[in-house]
Amino acid sequence: MSSVDLGIVGAGPAGLAAAVEARSAGHSVALLDEAAHPGGQIYRNIDHAGAKQFELLGPDYAYGKALTKAFGKSGCSYLPKSSVWHVEQRDTGFRLSYSRDGRSHGVDVGSLIIATGALERPMPLPGWTLPGVTTAGAIQILLKASATVADDLVLVGSGPLLILLAAQLVTSGYPPRAIVETVPLKNYVRALPRVPFNASGLGYLYKGSKLLARVARAGVPIFRDARDIVIEGTKRVEAVSFRSKGRAHRVETMSVGLHHGVVPNQQITRLMRCEHVWDQRQHAFLPILTEDGETSVHGLFVAGDGGGIRGAHSAEIAGRLAALKVIERMTGESQAAVKSLRKKLKRDASVRPFLEALYPPFSEALVPSDDTLVCRCEEVTAGQIRDAVRDTASEANQVKSFLRTGMGPCQGRVCGLAVTELIAEASGRSRNDVGYFRIRPPLKPLSLNELADYETEAQ
């Protein structure tokens, strides 16, 4: 079993920046990532992207090139195509078990930075499981990986990623057929006082307005304040029906892209029993972190969107910051850059209150109608969850025992927050009291052969 000073999970901006920082101080670092190449979701495939991708995805994507270049030169031990399926606390730090090319291996690390980013918030609406329905994130993966675009797409939901994707599709020559935007009109009023009047914040807003203008110029119809959304179809999606500003609409389409924001990927921090707390502004559970990203478990850090959604630039800063704290621990020398990075991080986050006020998740998908499927793995509806609450279950893990929600292959990634939300709604208890599923290993399905052949050495 190999062993290093610092282990990092995830090769997005947070993970790459942390690796470069720790390597420049001379520490041994292993970075494990599921993808074949560094970049994470935001800079996916950047080292192999062609001119077409750079044209479609723009300068914010191209920015990632500098990060992967620095990482490539850092001398970090890089383990791509490696899926971490278990993390254990040891006397000397942590042991990661991971699967690569069909075999399992272990690595012991002194400190650990989790940089596994965000997951798209699932959007359980009537009909959301019909073939032809996908998510904005999945469509972007196709763009980044192979410059493939979907034709005749109706985008449903809200948020910066939805607008970015719409603009990218316009550039590609395949503009979406329509955007069904779920932002209540009152949110514009609510968000106004939160406009960040500083260079960083206004920079983000300027970028956003340019994207919106590009979509508008292309003549993409935007239905605002949409509600009562139903995705229609028998064998596959045929249309989206909804009401917008008091009028009923029905848009025929073969493909629908859903999106209403992203949430921290909390699988590893939950497995490690880090303390989490409900954050009403982000409408998600966040691990409780120190200013520099350390969780309630000593030596375990979270950098990037996994600690709360703040975007790629903040992730990079947070990655460096967490690495500097690890370096401080190991060397006993305080690091000069810590203070300025903390300031930078605060500044970069100044746009968040505005975005959070403008783009909260869509209420119809937070507490779906009774017939809507919430847990796809075990096929459990919102109504069944409400019934279980009436039948005395008032905690997420009781509903899991009752209905098997969260026991399927996705390990609760899809239904977890919706289950918490539905129990809170039906029982009147706080989301912190309702809690979240206990996360069991393996974090990703593991072949029995792999476990049977896994050579674990005694310590």
């Binding site: 026991m407 069991r440 393996p442 399905p445 029995l448």
Partner: protein
């Protein structure tokens, strides 16, 4: 809550045994309150492998297990819920000829004691019961047993008990237990409970409860490990073990395979925390693959463990306290108590209500763990 709750019987522990005893005590007309520090069935009762097994039990447990099996067959009449109970054979396969001898000795021993529910079968019969089994098996031992859904079973006992008037207070930890005249006063975080009788069904925490009433119970908390796989086409409708290697293997109605078998994780009873140890589960995976070669295609979905109580002799403690007439115990089932839930609850309720100790629970008195004789008394001082 500052009120004092007064009952005929206070049960500490809302697992299967606590809920079962509460149910049967309520049927006898007693007022019963169950104090559960977490949630009903959160630990061993809700997280075990669900085997309803008589096969290969310690011979002292067989009469109790036989009685319980009769109750399992009509479980719906007891709790108005089928508990997912399926009556299927349990098979212990012999992997070599030495194993066959071991199984034959066992059958002889059982016969001598008058028990005939375990039967030796040859290789062909094993293959016809388990078409997917490794054809190299030598034979096996079979009994008419079954399995059920552990969490659902415990929830069903709790639901029925509540219907019969039992009060079950969850998130209610018994912090202090004191004798108060002829009754017992239990102080919890949010109130006091008084009972004419006290029953300790606290599982891995039962040693601490016994200690507070002056009984000695060397309870060792353990965390038996379990694996569940993704769904596979049905290939096994028995519960399967092996003669020598730890294994408990079954395919559920939904196609998933639940695999356990005495491998242990790490446990901390103060924090309710268990940690899965994959270097142990690796052996479970190996055994499962050896017995069913088709398992090389299985995908592990989840691993977990509950928190269970193990006694030094691997037998439960069931019966009256050594020190007090109105204190009773039912704990320490050492990772094979699920099947015993219905009968133990029934007989413990009978013991509390009538003072009659059924022969089935005779061997399990707490006295066998008596602290060393007090020498001062022996010396007449």
């Amino acid at each position: 809550m500052t009120n004092t709750v007064i009952s005929d019987l206070l049960v500490i522990g809302g697992g299967l045994h606590g809920c079962s005893a509460a149910l049967f005590a309520a049927k006898r007309g007693m007022t019963v309150t169950v104090l559960e520090k977490d949630e009903v069935g959160q630990h061993a009762s809700g997280t075990n492998a669900g085997g309803v097994r008589r096969l290969w039990r310690d011979i002292k447990e067989v009469p109790l297990a036989n009685l319980s099996m009769e109750m399992w067959k009509s479980i719906s009449e007891i709790v108005d819920d089928d508990c997912g109970f399926q009556q299927v054979p349990q098979v212990k396969v012999a992997e070599c000829s030495d194993d066959m001898e071991l199984l034959a000795d066992r059958v002889a021993l059982m016969k001598k004691s008058g028990f005939d529910h375990e039967r030796l079968i040859d290789r062909n019969e094993v293959l016809s019961l388990l078409p997917a089994v490794n054809p190299r098996v030598e034979g096996g031992l079979v009994s008419d047993d079954g399995f059920a859904l552990p969490w659902h079973t415990t929830a069903a006992f709790a639901r029925k008990a509540r219907e019969l008037g039992v009060r079950i207070d969850t998130r209610t930890e018994a912090r202090r237990i004191q004798k108060d005249g002829n009754t017992w006063r239990v102080t919890c975080s949010d109130g006091e409970y008084v009972g004419a009788h006290l029953l300790n069904c606290a599982g891995a925490w039962a040693g601490q409860v016994a200690d507070q009433v002056g009984d000695n119970a060397p309870v060792e908390p353990i965390a038996p490990l379990m694996i569940v796989t993704q769904r596979m086409k049905p290939f096994c409708d028995c519960v399967v073990g092996t003669a020598r290697r730890p294994l408990s293997f079954k395919q559920m109605a939904n196609g998933t395979l639940v695999i356990g078998g005495a491998r242990l994780g790490r446990v901390n009873t103060a924090t309710n925390r268990t940690d899965v140890d994959f270097s142990e589960l690796k052996h479970t995976a190996n055994t499962a693959r050896d017995v069913f070669p088709i398992m090389s295609k299985a995908v592990i979905q989840r691993a977990w463990s509950g928190i269970e109580a193990r006694m030094p002799d691997l037998l439960p403690v069931i019966g009256r306290s050594e020190k007090h007439e109105n204190v009773f115990h039912a704990f320490g089932f050492s990772a094979h108590g699920f099947q015993l839930g219905p009968a133990t609850g029934k007989l413990v309720a009978e013991l509390i209500d009538t003072g009659q100790k059924a022969p089935e629970i005779e061997p399990f008195g707490i006295k066998r763990f008596s602290a060393k004789p007090d020498h001062s008394q022996l010396l007449g001082m």
